[in-house]
């Protein structure tokens, strides 16, 4: 699993801000002589993008599917992009990227959220579960098995989000009727229109009473 060492630099953002102003006023050599604050000028002048990238990042400790990661990320990195682009966990899908489709649904500390609208830097020390974290070895999660059994998908693009949402829907206690399931699954859009089968799958898992 790709994992970088945490940036040991303890400079706070406020320190970095004042240093940034200082750097802007100073020359290149002064800037390089400083210990790593945010070296915005390097990026502005396209000196060495790798140095700039390193200096413009913030440390993040996060646990994904039971694996701890210590990373340096840009503050603008969303949790979705972190999972897909940096941790190579591409099971979580980017649908609309604007919080309208639910394809990017993951669990953070046991709660389903939209990873596309969540800044990764705000998930410090969080425990994240994605679709990749559901199966136990080769044994699929009961919700994954139920989706296969009930044909809960066609193209499959919304499926990881539907499954993560479906599990949460039961855990939250909102799967007591077909109507309630539909309401509490409304944040997950399926363009193939597999909704009835998705509700069937969730209903079966709920009634099956297996640990999820």
């Amino acid at each position: 699993m790709a994992s970088k060492k945490t940036n040991q630099d303890k400079v706070t953002s406020e320190d970095a801000s004042s240093r940034r102003d200082f750097i802007k006023k100073s020359g290149l050599f002064t800037a390089l002589a400083l210990t790593p604050p945010s070296l915005v000028m390097a990026s502005e002048k396209k000196w060495d993008e790798k140095i700039a990238e390193y200096l413009e990042t913030v440390p993040l400790s996060i646990e994904v599917n039971g694996t701890k990661h210590n990373l340096n990320i840009e503050p603008r990195t969303t949790l979705l992009d972190l999972l897909r682009e940096q941790l190579q966990l591409t099971g979580t899908k980017k649908g609309c990227d604007h919080g309208q489709c639910g394809a990017c649904t993951v669990h953070v500390n046991g709660t389903r959220i939209l990873s596309c609208l969540s800044l990764a830097t705000m998930q410090q020390n969080a425990q994240v579960t994605t679709i990749e974290g559901l199966s136990k070895g080769k044994k699929l999660h009961p919700m994954q098995e139920a989706f296969i059994k009930h044909d809960g998908f066609q193209c499959g693009y919304c499926t990881p989000g539907q499954i993560m949402s479906g599990i949460a829907c039961i855990k939250e206690g909102h799967a007591n009727s077909r109507e309630e399931i539909s309401e509490y699954m409304s944040g997950n859009i399926c363009r193939c229109g597999a909704y009835h089968n998705i509700v069937d799958a969730i209903t079966e898992v709920k009634e099956g009473g297996k640990e999820i």
């Binding site: 604007h98 639910g102 800044l119």
Partner: protein, 326 residues
Amino acid sequence: MKNFQIIKALSSSSAVTGKAKDNSSMFIAGGTNLVDLMKKNIVAPDKLVDINGLDLKKIEFLKGKVSIGALAKNSQVAEDASIKEKYPLLALALAAGASQQIRHMATVGGNMLQKTRCSYYYNTDMPCNKRVPKSGCGAIGGSNRMAAVFGTSDSCIAVHPSDMCVALAALDAKVLVEGPKGKREINFTDFHRLPGNMPEKDNTLDSRELITAVEIPDNNFTKNVHYLKVRDRTSYAFALVSVAVALDIKNNTINDVRLALGGVAHKPWRLTETEKFLKGKTVSEDLFKQAGHLSMKGAKGFGDNNFKLTLGENAVAEALTIAASK
């Protein structure tokens, strides 16, 4: 998205101070609206002040009122057993908004501060006085099916998109804020403003102020309440028109009533005139029809949204009927 700096506030006063130092900075809580706006480059702060570490998440039932922390999640409030029992209208309105994933992320304070979903505000190729002051309003004379019918101006006909706020306006809530000059309270109905010639200003909050809580006074609206949300699909869509109604009925007579509309104005639209009309009268279908008619007096359509005038009348009558029959 433009890159930015982010700092974590450890207290509400440090959050206020941190933000006050830098005028281009913004607070971030749930981020469900702000991150989206930043992706579209509609807002582009240099610095974010993350306030999620502040102790503002509690729902406290105090003497004569409930105090809901600004960082309480929408789902947390909607599913709180005591909120459901004592302030069911608020729980209903919250459950009608967004999706469960978004309700898990979105906070009470952030819900109040969310931006309009007017398509001209979101489309940076189009004019919008709210996004770029003095650039014009694309919705007037344009595609305006979702637009306001009350309190509009020549500058802006956008609506406030929140459901929660409609219930809070109906329930006489107060907004508690903290700023560089100290703390103050704002009546909920005075919090959001009409567009006038400054549509870029959504509310009466100073840019350096932080919402810390919302308080609702105790009331007798525990049974005959309803939040009717009329929308293009059954769930997960913004309101065309919504109605928050709270009735206190004794012996078939309306002892007290609160009524507010969503989806019709730049702010939650409290219907004080209809409330006065209904108070003391006997519940009847005809009375509720009259109330619907009275509620839409003075409404003005802009073409595509003319249907809201009739829809509003019927929605008020329907919401009152449903609430009274509970």
